[in-house]
């Protein structure tokens, strides 16, 4: 780990101002991802701005009938909130499928969205990795890539986004509220939040440097049956091989987002129209243009079969 300086701030304005003041700064929330990466020198911030005690830890109703989730709400608190459990069951189920109880007690809503890939080569600083060290190459291509992306990847990077929560957020049409150093606020639909790797896989979101996430909003509930099926080799405490987050209505219509297949939670609205016809056409639409390797080609049939299982379960 590189030496760094540290400060704790008590307002969003102070956080963004501190960022503007200190080059090489990073926000730190629960620290469950950033600290690990710092120990391995994958991330080397010179200054940490601790935002974990900002008063962004509430879940409030919005005038539109949805919820505003403070950026610092812990994953455990979010998953167990009565309104979330009742109206956004997908979110609760996705959250509790992730990490462990101890980690969820620390992990925050903002930090979860911004957690970095679990590509093992990203974690080994001896290996080429364009995401860690732009221009060095991608060791996963041609290497061990059973866990890697099948859609949206590029010749520079085939990493997946590991978050479960984000998959539910995507199906629920969440928006990410931010404020920048100049105090300007904006709301970014989660569909537009993550950047495709293209030639610059180190740039992962549309956030500007120093832009602080303050909340995530959910539109008003859409009803339906909420199912999150995280497929993995062991029963718990493992990242998804693939995950299916679905909201299915009585008439068979609904929404589907996938985890573990691409650089972002993967949803193709146009494909959802086929839901009443079963899993295959939806999976085909979701995975159109997929590019697989010898080791991760199983993800295509797996998505279709997992989705079929989810749809069968929704029917009851």
């Amino acid at each position: 780990m590189k030496s760094f300086t540290y400060e704790r701030v008590d307002s969003s304005a102070a956080a963004t101002a501190a960022f503007a003041r200190t080059p090489g700064a990073r926000f730190i929330a629960g620290g469950t991802n950033l600290l690990d990466l710092m120990k391995l020198e994958i991330e080397t911030p010179q200054h940490l701005i601790d935002v974990s005690r900002l008063a962004l830890d509430k879940i409030e109703a919005t005038p539109e009938g949805g919820l505003r989730i403070g950026a610092m709400v812990r994953n455990t608190d979010l998953a167990s909130d009565a309104r979330v459990r009742r109206d956004y069951g997908l979110l609760t189920r996705a959250l509790v499928a992730g990490a462990s109880g101890q980690l969820r007690n620390k992990a925050t809503t903002a930090g979860n969205l911004l957690q970095r890939t679990r590509c093992p080569y990203f974690y080994d600083t001896n290996q080429p990795c364009n995401k860690r060290q732009p221009g060095s190459g991608c060791a996963a291509i041609g290497g061990f890539n059973r866990l890697h992306a099948v859609v949206g990847a590029s010749d520079a990077c085939i990493a997946t986004h590991p978050s479960d929560m984000a998959v539910a957020m995507r199906a629920l049409d969440a928006a990410i509220e931010t404020v920048d150093a100049a105090g300007k606020a904006r709301a970014i639909p989660i569909a537009d939040f993550y950047r495709a790797p293209a030639k610059t896989p180190h740039l992962e979101t549309v956030l500007a440097p120093g832009e602080l996430i303050t909340a995530v909003t959910l539109p008003k509930p859409v009803g339906g049956t909420h199912i999150y099926h995280k497929v993995r080799d062991r029963a718990s405490y493992a990242f998804a091989l693939i995950a299916v987050g679905a909201i299915v209505q009585r008439d068979g219509t609904g929404r589907v987002a996938l985890g573990g297949v691409g650089y972002k939670p993967w949803r193709v609205e146009a494909a959802e129209a086929a839901l009443p016809r079963g899993a295959k056409p939806v999976a085909d639409g979701l995975l159109a243009g997929a590019k697989t390797t010898h080791e991760n080609a199983y993800k295509l049939p797996l998505v279709e079969r997992a989705l079929a299982g989810v749809l069968a379960q929704a029917k009851g």
């Binding site: 120990k39 080569y121 290497g143 497929v231 080799d233 718990s236 049939p301 797996l302 299982g309």
Partner: protein, 733 residues
């Protein structure tokens, strides 16, 4: 004491304390965090500095240049050890590659430097400033590609590479029912909780290491050889070990580098291997490719048994002895086994829990299941039919005891085996459900083991031996043994382990520890009893019970024998040729039920049962703990554990516990263990054998066979992950 004729009745047979389910005597220390593990021994030496290991970034080649300037100038740095400045170092007998590499690099993450600093953070930060240029060499990393170059290795730990009895080729060709299949098992990591860790301190030319090591005497010897100093100048102390599974049988980089670092820094130095380094820096269980051929008559009698195994290791290394059990497990007149070894430039292969048998049975016991299906026989019945009570390669040699059939039959009964249906038909909602069975087999090994026992005036008996407790429960069975022998309650026994200043024990490995080390304590206690009766002037048939020694009408408190000073006795248990006259092995049967998600192919174990026949069970509670732990490890081997090899760069890619998955609680819902009532008089006066490795043997095959029974899909390449099932599962829910 020499053990060369089968044991008769002795004080252990009273089984007042031995054989009773007993809580670990050191348990409270562990549950309260007060059992000091190597890295936490802050009090043993003042002024400890911190060492951080730099691992090679390439698998094979040379260090072209190494620039230590920046690292030396970093805050807090005291010293940097490299092969350039470490002085002359030999390689230990138990190491295949050097513990400190450079300029030649033998494997990925081979240690090439130790940075010593005032704090851990400073050492780690400075370690990343060591600038190294490499000249990458060409290495071999792909076992499948290398098997054509594999050669017949020399005997490994007494196991010959080949064996042949009768005429296998002719008998196999003539067999009416044949099975010929290839299986693969991947590289496995020990993945124990506690990393390799050492604190080292020098006083003049005398070195003390507080470390985490299974085999104290081996490691003292290897350290002496490596450093070129007399054994007498080295003390190892390793009282608590957070798991080893074979990964701590030998010295690793932490011990050597802590010693070198302490010398360079002129103060005590502590070193732990970080998790990512454990996987590529230390040893692992090597991958195998195995071919099993079984020939049988139409009614299921095996007539031909052939088992070949290919594995790889660094130059000078050894094979994974995956055919060992096949020489002994089933009857059959015509047999062959062969092991071949290829050179691979991956990290060093070596022993991991049940080396040989664990991967060997992963293949053999699927093959037996496949043969049963070809024969249309129940796999339990097929195994029972082919039982042998003698060494099938040397029929004049009987097994000392062999209750494999009883294990199988008891297990079948208790598990509800008769409810097993044909493959692919049992459903429970979205789950396809199946049952599998496999035989468990692991040889029993005994080794010389010494102990010293002291009797104090208070009646407290203290045992000292360099035996280790790697989480297995050694403290407790040694205390039970001494308590039974001296006729005192358990709380009157103090056990001190893991210090090379104590008499040399068998150590912990190869499941030989329990029987061997307690036999050593038995021998020492026999001597102490003699000293006691002599001191008290009692008849030699005096009875030791309830803290007293009784002969005729006299009854004296045991402690009185030490009234004018402590009584001390020491002895070493040695073995004659009973293990040659009798084949001593341990047996078991594993039954497993799995559910397979019909849509996703996710496999989840639903319940497991092991029935074990392993001689006298000294502490059923600890033994059960050993067996359920081993069953868990076997489930991991079946379903998830695989070191992913990068065949271009030559290293294990998933080198942390996020990438190398081992079972979690949710994977292991229900386990049962039954021990058959046994006592084997040929093994030692304890009449015990090992169980710690038996427990893993066959488990993975039982899981594999259950997956087959659930789905009708046979997977021969471990681990059995859903991607290997997907294309073959039924179409609809």
């Amino acid at each position: 004491m020499k053990f060369d004729t089968p044991a008769t009745t002795n004080p252990i047979d009273q089984m007042k304390i031995v054989g009773k389910p007993t809580n670990r005597i050191e348990g409270p220390l562990k549950t309260t965090g007060t059992a000091p593990y190597a890295y936490e021994r802050h009090d043993v030496a003042a002024n400890q500095a911190y060492g951080y290991v730099v691992g090679s970034a390439i698998a094979k080649g040379r260090i072209a240049s190494m620039n230590l300037g920046e690292a030396r100038a970093a805050p807090g740095v005291i010293a940097i050890v490299t092969a350039d400045n470490a002085g002359k170092l030999a390689k230990g007998d138990f190491n295949t590659a050097k513990l400190l590499g450079g300029p030649d690099i033998e494997h990925y993450h081979q240690a090439i430097a130790l940075v010593v600093a005032d704090s851990f953070e400073q050492a780690r930060a400075a370690a990343s400033l060591v600038r190294v240029e490499y000249a990458r060499g060409k290495g071999a990393y792909d076992l499948a590609a290398a098997i054509d170059t594999a050669i017949k290795p020399k005997a490994s730990f007494g196991t010959e590479p080949d064996s042949a009895v009768g005429n296998f080729a002719a008998a196999f060709a003539a067999a009416p029912v044949q099975l010929d299949a290839r299986y693969t098992t991947p590289d496995h990591s020990h993945a124990m909780m506690e990393p390799h860790a050492t604190i080292a301190a020098w006083k003049g030319d005398k070195l003390t290491v507080w470390t985490s090591n299974q085999m104290i005497a081996w490691s003292v010897g290897d350290m002496a050889k490596t450093l070129g100093i007399p054994k007498e100048n080295i003390r190892f102390d390793s009282p608590y070990i957070g798991g080893g599974f074979g990964g701590k049988l030998f010295n690793r980089a932490d011990v050597l580098l802590a010693a070198l670092g302490a010398k360079a820094a002129k103060r005590p130095v502590k070193v732990a291997l970080p998790r990512p380094l454990m996987i590529n820096n230390t040893t692992h269980r090597p991958a195998t490719i195995q071919r099993v051929r079984l020939g049988a008559t139409a009614d299921g009698k095996l007539t031909a048994i052939g088992h070949e195994s290919w594995s790889g290791d660094l130059p000078g290394g050894g094979p994974e002895t995956a055919v060992a059990q096949t020489r002994l497990l089933y009857a059959g007149e015509n047999r062959m086994t062969a092991m071949r070894l290829a050179v691979l430039d991956l990290p060093e292969g070596n022993a991991m829990r049940a080396p040989g048998e664990a991967p060997g049975l992963m293949a053999l016991e699927i093959a037996v299941d496949e043969l049963a299906e070809k024969l249309g026989m129940d796999p339990v019945a097929l195994r029972v039919l082919n039982d042998t009570q003698v060494d099938p390669e040397k029929p004049s040699r009987p097994f000392s005891q062999r209750q494999l059939n009883k294990c199988l039959e008891t297990g079948a009964d208790k598990f509800g085996w008769s409810k097993r249906a044909k493959p692919g038909v049992t459903r429970d909602g979205r789950w396809l459900v199946g049952m599998g069975v496999a035989a468990a087999f692991r040889n029993n090994l005994n080794g010389p083991s010494a102990a010293r026992v002291r009797l104090a005036k208070s009646g407290v008996v203290t045992v000292e031996t360099d035996m280790t407790d790697i989480g297995t429960g050694t403290y407790t069975i040694i205390a039970q043994t001494a308590a039974e022998m001296m006729g005192v309650p358990l709380d009157k026994v103090v056990v001190k382990l893991g210090d090379s200043a104590f008499p040399v024990s068998a150590g912990s490995g190869g499941q030989w520890g329990a029987n061997s080390s307690t036999a050593g304590v038995y021998a020492a206690c026999v001597k102490l009893r003699e000293a006691v009766v002599q001191k008290l002037g009692l008849a030699s048939d005096a009875v030791f019970a309830d803290g007293k020694v009784k002969a005729g009408r006299r009854s004296v408190a045991l402690g009185d024998a030490a009234a004018d000073g402590e009584l001390v006795a020491e002895d070493n248990m040695e073995y004659g040729d009973l293990a040659e006259k009798f084949q001593q092995s341990t047996f078991g049967a594993h039954f497993v039920e799995v559910g397979v998600d019909a849509m996703t192919g996710e496999i989840r174990v639903r319940r497991m049962l092991a029935v074990c026949a392993a001689g006298r069970i000294l502490n059923p509670k600890a033994a059960r703990s050993q067996v359920i732990g081993a069953m868990t490890m076997g489930a991991g081997a079946a379903l998830m554990e695989e070191l992913a090899v990068d065949k271009r760069f030559g290293f294990f890619v998933n080198h942390d516990l996020a990438g190398y998955e081992v079972p979690v609680h949710a994977d292991i819902p229900h386990q049962d263990v039954i021990f058959l009532d046994e006592a084997d008089p040929t093994t030692s006066p304890m009449k015990a054998k090992g169980v710690g490795e038996l427990g893993i043997c066959g488990v993975a095959a039982a899981v594999a066979n259950a997956v087959y029974n659930a789905t009708g899909v046979r997977v021969r390449n471990y681990p059995i992950t859903l991607d290997k099932l997907l294309g073959k599962l039924p179409d609809m829910v």
